[in-house]
Symmetry: C2
Subunit: 335 residues, 2 copies
DNA sequence: CTGAAAGCGCTTACAG
DNA sequence: CTGAAAGCGCTTACAG
C-alpha cells in the first residue's frame, strides 16, 4: 500500500496542496492547465485521498449504517433481506457511499451497536429496518439526533422519517380483484401481527371485505410468520373453513399454502385461488406461476438512501415519509 | 448530537487532554484518582471519541470490508449468505469492529468498490467471498497490499490467506458411510464446477468411490447450482440411472432432490438415501429430517475475522490458511 | 486562479 | 503519573 499524501501529489505536479485538493473535489476555481497536470499525476500514481482525514475535516464520513434486528425468524429464509441489501448496495454505490451492516441479536449487541453508531465521524446516518422488537431502539436513535430513516412504517410514525410501500391499498386492490372475479370465501394468512407490515396487509384485507359488504369471518384468518413453512402449516388450519381464495401476506407463505392445498388434493386455481405478496423477481423464478403484489424492492432501498442523504444534507428536522406504489401481477394461481 | 471533544472532557475533569485520552484507551499510566474522575465525566456526558480523528492518527479504522460477488444465483435463496453475515457480524461485535458490505454486480460496481476500498484510512482489511468470477479481483486486492482473507479456498490458494472447511475429507467420509451401509449406486448432485467448493465436494465423492474400488459412473453425476430448484431438476435427470443413494452438495439441493424423488413415487430412505451438506441450524428447522454434513458456519465467520485481525496486527506477509472440520449428522434420510 | 495558514479531534513520544 | 507540543492528512476561508 503506497501512502502518498496530497503534499506528494502537489510536489510532483508543481502546484500547492490546496490546488490538488480542489482538483480532487471538483472545485471550479482551478485552471484547465493545473487541473490536467494534477489529474495526470493522480492517475499515474493511483493516489486516493485518506478517508479518515477527509472525514475529520469535512465532517462527512460517506458511510451510513444499515441496522437489521436479527430477531426476525425470516431473516435466513426470506429473500426480502438479500433483495433489500442489494437495493441499498446499489444505491450506495451510485452515491459513492458505503454502508455498514449491523445485525442485532441480544441486548448486548444492541448496546455495542449503539455505542459505535453514536461515535461521531463514523457514520452520517442510519437506515433501520422496522420490526416490533427493534422499535424501542428507534426512539433512542431518533433522540440521539443521528439522521435516521426507518424502512417500513414504524409504530412511532409521526416521530421519524420512513419509507414504506402502500401495503393497505395494494392488498385492498388485490382482494377487490378476487371478489370481482367471483370468489366468495376469501381467507388470509397474515404476517406477524406485532409488526406494522403484518397489521397493514391485514387491514387491506378487512377494508376490502367491509367495502364490499362482506362480514369478517374469524375462521378464514390465520397468522403466519412470512416463512414458507408457516404458510404450509397455517393453510392446513384454514382448509376446513373451505375458502375459495387465499391472500397470503408474502410469496413464501403463498408457496407454502399452495403446497398444503395440493397435498390436500385440491386444484389451483379451480378450487382455490391464491395471491401472494412480494414478487422479488429473483434470478431464478419460482416454479409456480403465482398471482401476487409486486413491491418495488430495489427502488425501496434507493428511495430510503436518497431520503437519508437528503436529511443529512438539509439537517431537516420534520419527519418525512415516502410511500411507494406496489402493483398487482396477475398470473395462473387465480381464476 | 452533542459534539464534545477530548478538550471539553479534560476541562470538566480538571486534567489534560492527554490524560483523558489515556483513560479512554486504557493506558496504564493514569492514577486511580484521575481515572475515576475522567470516567465519571465521560459517563455523565456520554462522550464518544471522534472516530475519524482517531482513525487518522492511529492508522486504524476499526472497520473491515466484506465483499460478496453478486454473480452467484444462490445469493437470494441460499441461507449460506445470511448465516455467513451473521457469523461475521457477531465476530465483529465481539472485537469492536464494524464491517461494510460490498455486493458487486457489474464491472462498474467492481471499479467503484475497488476505488473505495483502496482509500487509506477507510478499512483495515478485507474479507472476500471466494467464487469463480470474483477471483480475478483477488489478485488485484492481494497486489494492493490491503490485508485480505478469502472465505473458501480461492483458485490462487498459495498467494493469499484463506479459511475453508474440509470439503474433500468430509464428503469422502459421508460417501464412505453410504458405502458401508450397503449402498451400491451412489449418485451426486455437485455444486457449480467452476467454483472450488463445487470441485472439492465432487472430489470427496470420487475419492471415496476410488478408495473403495468402485468405478466412476458418468450417469450418476450431475451438476447443480446449490439451489433447491436445481436439486429438483437435476434429480429428475438422475432418476433413470437408478441410484440407491445421493450426495447433494448443499441442503437446498438435497431438499429439491427429495421433492423429485417423492414425486417419482420412491421412498426415502427405503429406495434412495439422501445426504446433504450445510446443516445451518436455522431458527426454523426444515420439515425433513436430513442426514447431512454440518459446516460450522458461525465459527467460519469468526475464524475469518480473527485471521484478518491477526494479519492486520502482524503485517504478516506469508499467506496462511485455516481449515475447519465439518461433521456428519445422521438423520432419517439415510438407511 | 493560487498558495500559505489555520484547524478538524485525536494519539503519542518527550520532558518533567 | 502528567501535560505541552507535534503531527496525522486533509479542507477551506483568506489574502493576493
Amino acid at each position: 500500500m503506497d501512502s502518498l499524501t496530497l503534499e506528494d501529489i502537489a510536489r510532483k505536479s508543481g502546484v500547492s496542496r490546496s490546488t490538488v485538493s480542489r482538483v480532487i473535489n471538483d472545485h471550479p476555481n482551478v485552471s484547465q492547465k493545473a487541473r490536467e497536470r494534477v489529474q495526470e499525476v493522480i492517475n499515474q500514481t493511483g493516489f486516493q485521498p485518506h478517508a479518515a482525514a477527509r472525514a475529520l475535516v469535512s465532517n462527512r464520513a460517506w458511510t451510513c449504517g444499515l441496522i437489521l434486528p436479527r430477531t426476525i425468524n425470516s431473516f435466513f429464509t426470506d429473500p426480502y433481506y438479500p433483495c433489500l441489501i442489494q437495493g441499498i448496495a446499489q444505491a450506495c454505490s451510485k452515491q459513492d457511499y458505503t454502508f455498514s451492516l449491523f445485525l442485532m441479536g441480544d441486548k448486548e449487541d444492541e448496546e455495542k451497536m449503539f455505542a459505535r453508531v453514536a461515535r461521531r465521524g463514523f457514520m452520517d446516518g442510519i437506515l433501520f429496518q422496522s420490526d416490533q422488537i427493534g422499535d424501542m431502539l428507534i426512539d433512542r436513535l431518533a433522540d440521539s439526533g443521528m439522521p435516521l430513516v426507518v424502512l417500513g412504517r414504524p409504530f412511532q410514525e409521526n416521530k421519524v422519517s420512513y419509507v414504506d410501500i402502500d401495503n393497505i391499498e395494494s392488498v385492498e386492490t388485490a382482494v377487490d380483484y378476487l371478489l370481482r372475479t367471483g370468489h366468495k370465501r376469501i381467507g388470509t394468512i397474515t404476517g406477524p401481527l406485532n409488526t406494522t407490515v403484518g397489521i397493514d396487509r391485514k387491514k387491506g384485507y378487512t377494508n376490502s371485505l367491509k367495502k364490499n359488504g362482506l362480514g369478517f369471518d374469524e375462521s378464514l384468518v390465520v397468522e403466519g410468520t412470512f416463512t414458507e413453512e408457516s404458510g404450509y402449516q397455517k393453510m392446513k388450519k384454514l382448509l376446513p373453513a373451505k375458502p375459495d381464495a387465499i391472500f397470503a401476506a408474502s410469496d413464501q407463505m403463498a408457496l407454502g399454502a399452495i403446497r398444503a392445498i395440493k397435498e390436500y388434493g385440491l386444484d389451483i386455481p379451480a378450487d382455490i385461488s391464491v395471491i401472494g405478496f412480494d414478487d422479488f423477481q429473483l434470478p431464478i423464478p419460482p416454479s409456480i406461476s403465482l398471482t401476487t403484489i409486486r413491491q418495488p424492492i430495489a427502488r425501496f432501498g434507493n428511495e430510503a438512501l436518497n431520503l437519508l442523504l437528503d436529511i443529512i444534507k438539509n439537517k431537516d428536522e420534520s419527519p418525512r415519509k415516502v410511500i411507494l406504489k406496489s402493483e398487482l401481477i396477475i398470473r395462473a394461481s387465480t381464476k
